[in-house]
Amino acid sequence: MSADQTRVGYEYIIIGSGVAGSTLATQLLEANPLTKILMLEAGPVVPMKDRRYWWDYVVSYKKPYTHCYDLAGDNDSVGRTPWVSEGSRMMIYGGSTVHWGGWSMRFKPEDFHLFSNTGGGGDWPYGYDELEPYYCRAESYLSVGGDDRDPWRSKPYPMPAYPWTISDGEMVEAFQSLGITPGKMPMARARKCMATGTCKYCPVGARFSGSYILDDLLADPRFVNFTYLGSAPAQRLECEGSKAKVNWVTYLDPTTAEEVTARGDTVLVCSGAYEAPKLLQRSVSTAWEEGIGNDHDLVGRYPVSHPFLSVSGTKPDNPERWIQEYDFPTLMSRTYDTEAQQQNGKIFLMKDANYPSVDIAAQMINGRTRAEVDRVVTGERSMHLSAFMEEKGSWSDRFTAAKGTTRFGLPRTKIDFSHPADFTARAQKNLGYMTAVLREMGYQNLNPQIGSQDGHHTSSTTRMGVDPTEGVVDENLRVFGTENLYVCSNAALPNCAAVNPTLTLVAVTLKLADHLLGRDGEVSV
């Protein structure tokens, strides 16, 4: 390295500004405000809480950040099962929580033993109880509200649950008569939530987003050594002296697009489950011939997300004039999310937030009279019950770099993924449970569907394991064979259970922060 390149050294280099990266930065800086941190982010800044953007979203459904999604040509899906990446993640200041829904369920104790219980997927190197105190902290951090009945909780939610809305009522009853336990959807929404129901672009910042965390960090006069570089994609990692010391990060300078190299005592890869494995694979040297942490050919393997199952049905009229009053679901169930369902693939049930819905304004715009609009509002209504289905992951599935570079300066992604042969039969079995609910509710024209394999919850591509033959990172998220390189991402989760992963990601992020600060085992809520 030249003297010029070593001029600026950091205690930490954080790659990626999403919820993982921004939370780690917050924890490190709150513990020691003078910590020297460089945060590299590939994406641009998009203003949040902007009145004009909000009105444009309300009036035309236009989200101001769609240019930060993957484009159709950014990825090659080459397996038997098409893997859909468009809309699945964001390259932006604050990362993918800029557009997330905020549904915040914990994984359940059996999820930590998936391999032991089923012979598929990965076991965690530790059990649920070790993460439980961090779940409590994560729920406070994200302002999660839910109901407190779950036996796997040690503390109540920090916020109250949202109520079941009127159109949830008949599904609650059907659940109960079929022996399905209805629950309130745990949601990350701050106290200032004003129920505007435009959560994809919240006007007041009530729905957690990594971008608000960054705003706070950058505005805080105590954090003089925190440097944020946007539009600065990390290209590769390099070692210093020994194979175990990964101190150098090469990235593209945001103004010149030239390669620049910075030194960090510790490097934290928080670039999401697509980019983390590609960055390790690309970091090839004589010491790491297959890429850093890839001596056992595990980097990028075992990807999972959630196949989306849904059943829709209709009733001929809507006398109570139901509409969806929140922009998020309020009714869910974990009855089929149990150890007994693991072999088949658990499902997490939720009433779809988009139904029943009537676009009154569209009727008026199209010149319908008041009487005609009333007829539409009280006319046919549709109801959808949806589910995420758990996947176990397979060694033969893999994320790698494809030829070419995206407009964010990141390599395109090759996704080789195929559902196992018995997937459809197992999904149909789950759809059977779901169809029974709508039938019980008296809906007709029932339409069970196996949706696309979307990348929204992509996980496990550099999974945790007890040793390097099982995983890429250890229980502290440190890449096996290195002393100072960590992957903090859904990529590190050994599986993705049947629920959204972010609460669990925040819990493991807080645990990693404690580890980096030498506070292992000292959790306080």
């Binding site: 004009r52 949202y162 109520p163 106290r191 505007t196 129901g197 509409i323 199209n366």
Partner: protein, 181 residues
Amino acid sequence: MAHTPHKVGGDICSQMLPPEVLPAEPRPPSEAEIDGLWRVFVAIGETWQNTVHDSAGLRSSWLDFLTQKCVTRPSYIGEYSSALSVFEELDRTHGDAAMDTLFFHSGVNSSTPPTTRLAHAKQYVVDEFIRVQIVIGGFKNFIVPDPPAERPDHIVNHRGFVAGSRYNRVTPVRVAIEQTP
């Protein structure tokens, strides 16, 4: 022979324009512009009879919308002054039926790009005002036409409506009767 797209209004309405928002430097709307546009917003409530007494209670939200659209880019100032000339022409050609013509008989297909001045006024102004009107409270009367006396107001929510904090004593949505599991 050139196809005449619309028979509504006169030369101003049928003037051809590119479909994009008319270029304009951002500035706040003038009092006269506000008054001219407010008339259309009020007419929406009167026509669909969904603002129970009048539209005045919605004015501050509408003004926030209007101001934001004018003072930030791309500014709608050009669209708004163009629309005012369309409304004036409709007054001249259709008299008392001007608003009805605009809402029900404009011949404008709102799902195709607007290429006349009339279509610009319908899509960029009237259609957006309708969306705003519904979102800021106009939806209520469609969903609860006869509100019960004990909860005349915050009984129902809608995407975009500022319904109140989750700590309100009155829940901002219609709730299901909860049953003990």
